[in-house]
Symmetry: C2
C-alpha cells in the first residue's frame, strides 16, 4: 500500500509531519511517499527508514493564507503533485495537513467523485462520553447545500461509521434546532424526508447529542459543521484555560491538582483530536485524509492509519452501492 504525505504547509512545518510518518512506519507495513522540498525533508529522515520512504521533490506549496482556487494553477505545489499521483494511481491514498480547501478542490476536480455522489464532504470525528467517536458530515467542504447533498452526507457517513469506525448499529441524525419533526429549516426538513428511506435514520437531533452517544452520524451543511467544530473547540479550550487559571491561583488547588494528573491525562486523551488523526474526504474516487493544520506527530500517524483503514475496508465501493440503493 502506497500513501502520499503532503509534507509541507502544516502550521508547524514539516518536522511533526515526518515524525508522524516514522511512527506509522514502525507500526504498520506500507510505503510512504513524502511530497515536498527534498532539501527540507531529507535531513529529517533517519538512515534506517531511508529504504521505506521515498521523496517526491517539489519546490512550491500552498500556504494557509492563500485562496483554495489558486491551488488549481500551482502545478508544482506539494498538494497538487500528491493529488496528481493519486489520480494516476501511483499512490493509493493522500494525507495532508496543509490547506484543506486546496486539498478538497484538487481532490474533487482531479480525482473525481464516486458515481452517484453530487458533492464530496469532510467527515470530522468528534469525541463523545463513551470514548468512541461520532461523525459530523459535512464539516466545512460545502457551505451552501441542497437537501439532496445532506441526504448523501448521511449515507456516506453511515458507511464510514459502520465499516471503518465499527459502529455496527450506527444511527443517522440531522442536526437541527429541536428534535421534533417540525423543527429545522426548509432544507433539513426536505433532507429528513429523503433520509427516511434509510433504516438507520432517527430524525432531528440537537447539538448536545453529538457528544452523548445517542447518535453516530450527524448530518449538516459545511457552514453549520464548521461552526459546530470551532464552538466545541472553543468551549473545551475555555474550560481547560479556566481550570488552569483557578488551580494556579490557589496553593491548595495546586496541591490537589498534583493528585489529579492521571485524571487530567485521561480527559485530555479522550478529547484530543490527535488521538484519531484527521478527517476523511468522503465521496471522491480515492482515499484522502484532511488533517488539522496544527497536527502533531501522533495525529499524523493516526491519519495515515485512517487512510489505510478506509482502503482496507473498501469504503468507496460501499458508498457507491449504498447511494445506488437509497437514491
Amino acid at each position: 500500500m502506497k500513501v502520499a504525505i503532503d509534507a509541507m504547509g502544516g502550521d508547524f512545518g514539516s518536522l511533526p509531519l515526518v515524525e508522524g510518518v516514522l511512527l506509522a512506519l514502525k507500526e504498520k507495513n506500507f510505503e510512504a511517499i513524502l511530497v515536498g522540498n527534498k532539501e527540507v525533508l531529507e535531513p529529517l529522515i533517519p538512515a534506517e527508514f531511508a529504504k521505506r520512504i521515498q521523496i517526491v521533490h517539489c519546490e512550491d506549496f500552498i500556504t494557509m493564507e492563500e485562496g483554495a482556487t489558486s491551488a488549481l494553477k500551482r502545478k508544482e505545489s506539494s498538494i497538487y503533485v500528491a493529488i496528481e499521483m493519486l489520480k494516476n494511481k501511483e499512490v493509493d491514498a493522500v494525507v495532508s495537513a496543509g490547506h484543506s480547501g486546496a486539498t478538497m478542490s484538487l481532490a474533487t476536480l482531479k480525482v473525481g467523485r464516486i458515481e452517484g455522489v453530487s458533492r464530496p464532504a469532510i467527515c470530522t470525528l468528534m469525541p463523545r462520553i463513551d470514548g468512541k467517536r461520532s461523525l459530523v458530515v459535512d464539516a466545512g467542504a460545502n457551505v451552501e447545500c441542497k437537501s439532496e447533498n445532506l441526504f448523501e452526507f448521511g449515507i456516506m457517513g453511515y458507511e464510514y461509521a459502520t465499516s471503518v469506525l465499527m459502529h455496527h448499529n450506527a444511527k443517522i441524525g440531522i442536526l437541527a434546532n429541536g428534535e421534533e419533526e417540525c423543527k429545522g429549516n426548509e432544507i433539513t426538513r426536505e433532507a429528513s424526508a429523503l433520509l427516511k428511506k434509510h433504516p438507520a435514520f432517527i430524525g432531528n437531533i440537537e447539538g448536545n447529542n453529538i457528544f452523548d452517544s445517542s447518535v453516530e452520524v450527524i448530518v449538516c451543511d459545511g457552514f453549520v459543521g464548521n461552526i459546530v467544530l470551532k464552538t466545541s473547540e472553543g468551549v473545551a479550550d475555555s474550560i481547560v484555560y479556566l481550570l488552569r487559571k483557578y488551580i494556579k491561583s490557589s496553593p491548595i488547588g495546586i496541591f490537589g491538582a498534583l493528585f489529579m494528573k492521571n485524571v487530567f491525562r485521561k480527559l485530555k486523551k479522550q478529547i484530543d483530536y490527535a488521538e484519531y488523526g484527521g478527517a476523511p474526504l468522503l465521496g471522491i474516487n480515492g482515499s484522502v485524509i484532511i488533517c488539522h493544520g496544527k497536527s502533531n506527530a501522533k495525529a499524523m500517524k493516526n491519519a495515515i492509519f485512517q487512510a489505510i483503514s478506509t482502503l482496507e475496508n473498501n469504503i468507496n465501493d460501499k458508498i457507491f452501492n449504498a447511494i445506488k440503493q437509497y437514491k
Copy 2:
C-alpha cells in the same frame, strides 16, 4: 416597577420559580405578580411576602410538549394572561421559564414590535474566559432569516451589550465558517455588507470567538444559534461528566479532588447559566425575559433583575433610535 412572572410551565414546577421571586424581593424593590394557579402558588408564599406578591389566577398553562401556535388560542393560560397584562400596561415586564416559543409568539403578536424592527430575537448570554458575557443573537426565535434580519440582530445586540451588560466597547461579529470576508453563506455575506455601516462591526467571526473575549455581539440566525447553544452545553456537560467519572475511578483522584473543590466551584460559577438569568427577547415593545425551562431559584432571581435592568436602561428607546440611525 411591576414584574409579571409566569409561575407555571417550568420543568421543575412552580417551587423554584416562586423561590426565585422571593430571593429577588429580598434584594430589590419591585412588585411581583405571579400568574398561575392560585391553589398551587399561595402555599409557596411565606406570610412576610404576602403584601409584596400578587397572584393573578388562571387555570391553564402551556406544557413544553405543545406547539407554540396553540398558545395563541389558550386565553386562560398563564403566559397568555401575563403577556396580555404587559400589552395593557398593567405590568412593566414579563419573565417566563415556560414554553419559549409560546412566550415569543404571544409577545410578538400581542405586544408588538419596536418600530423599524422586522423580527424580534432571543438574545442569549454566553460565558467567556474573562468572566464577562457575550451575546448570541438570535438564539432560536427565527429559523429562516434574511440578511436584513441579521443586520437588525447586530444592532439590537449592540445596544443591549453596551447599556445593560456595560460592554462599553462592544464589537459585533457575524458567525461564519471562517474569518475571511469571502467566507460565510449568501445571507451572512449580504448581512456583512449591511452591518459595515455600524462602527462596532468587525466582520466574520468563528465559533471559538464566542468564548475568547474577542467579540461581544455574535450575530446568527436562530437555527445556527440554537445549535451553538446546545453544542456548547453538550461539550461542557461532557467534560464535567468525564472529570467526575475519572475522579471516581481513582482513589488518588478522589483525594486530589478534595483540595480542588474551590477550583471546581469557581469554574461551575463561571459557566453556570443560572448566574445570569435568562435571555431577553429583543425588538418587542416591552420587556420580556425568556428563561431556561430548568431554571432554579437563582436563575429566576437574576432573570427578574435582567428585566428590571432592561427597563432602567431604556433599552427599547435605544434600539428604536439605533435602527433609525443605521437603516
